[in-house]
Symmetry: C2
Subunit: 152 residues, 2 copies
DNA sequence: CGGAATCCTGCCTGATACTG
DNA sequence: CAGTATCAGGCAGGATTCCG
């Protein structure tokens, strides 16, 4: 990331204006897709969710977000900071102390993200059931299905 | 992906019960994290957002979601179907016709996701401004910063 | 403690060919 | 059309090391 290098994964030069309903994907300033990719990021979402009002230190975040590598936490925090969603405060003390907190903008996003978390918590049982049903169906079909050209 | 192989990226055996505030990350049935990773997926989010009431065919989704590979669309749709969020209907006609639509459960998720999309659309300018400010600050610091051990 | 730098692996994309 | 299969190439991300 040199400086302001938007690599723009989405093309942006999408000239297909035959969209009738929704197609904010590529067009519509094109930035929406880019921001959405950031916001809809696995790690970003967790960081935003955790920074609900209390500030957290780097290691605290690392510990709370099980499975994240220190590199990805760094990268994620930098991105969120650049996007103006998270504020990074460095205290020039002997053991370095860096605290992260949501900016006012980040706080508004937190509400939305929290809704997503709440939804997930409230529907995990239904999803688990759907998965079980799907897997059972799959297994049954695999059973009944003749081994077309399964070989071996 | 053999059949029901939950590889469980999150450990689940997290025994650190020193969490005081939020730590739904690893514990709390542990499934929340897994589902959240699915829901907070770049492609899943776009698919759900696009399937707002109208059903869409495979190719239609592919065309609307610029940048997605056919493989990832297939994978994403399968996962969403397994999670009971998307329903896949196959019409046994000569040119195969497969339609995807949100299930009732998926529709409830759509509302939440739509809120995220709306937030993004409504704040893209602020984010763009924050990025510009951040980049300018970075550039200024890089300018003023002495080339410590830059070599060459 | 909070990173930055490096290496290295694995997944994703993109292209192509083949089914039903 | 709606996939599945395969291979090449790139890059995102994990693990490790070292520095302020």
């Amino acid at each position: 990331m040199e400086e302001g290098t938007y690599k723009s994964p989405g093309h942006c030069e999408g000239t297909d204006r035959d969209y009738d309903a929704l197609q904010w994907d590529t067009r519509e300033d094109c930035e929406v897709r880019q921001i959405l990719d950031r916001v809809a990021d696995k790690w970003s979402l967790l960081v935003i969710a955790l920074l609900d009002r209390h500030t957290l230190r780097f290691t605290e975040l690392r510990r709370k977000i099980d499975g994240i590598s220190q590199r990805m936490l760094t990268v994620t925090l930098r991105q969120l900071e650049r996007d103006g969603l998270v504020e990074r405060t460095v205290y020039p003390v002997v053991p370095p102390r860096v605290e992260y907190a949501l900016t006012p903008l980040g706080a508004t996003l937190h509400d939305t993200i929290q809704a997503l978390v709440t939804w997930t918590e409230g529907h995990q049982n239904e999803i688990a059931a759907a998965r079980a049903a799907y897997d059972a169906r799959e297994a049954a079909e695999a059973q009944a299905r003749p081994p077309e050209h399964t070989r071996v």
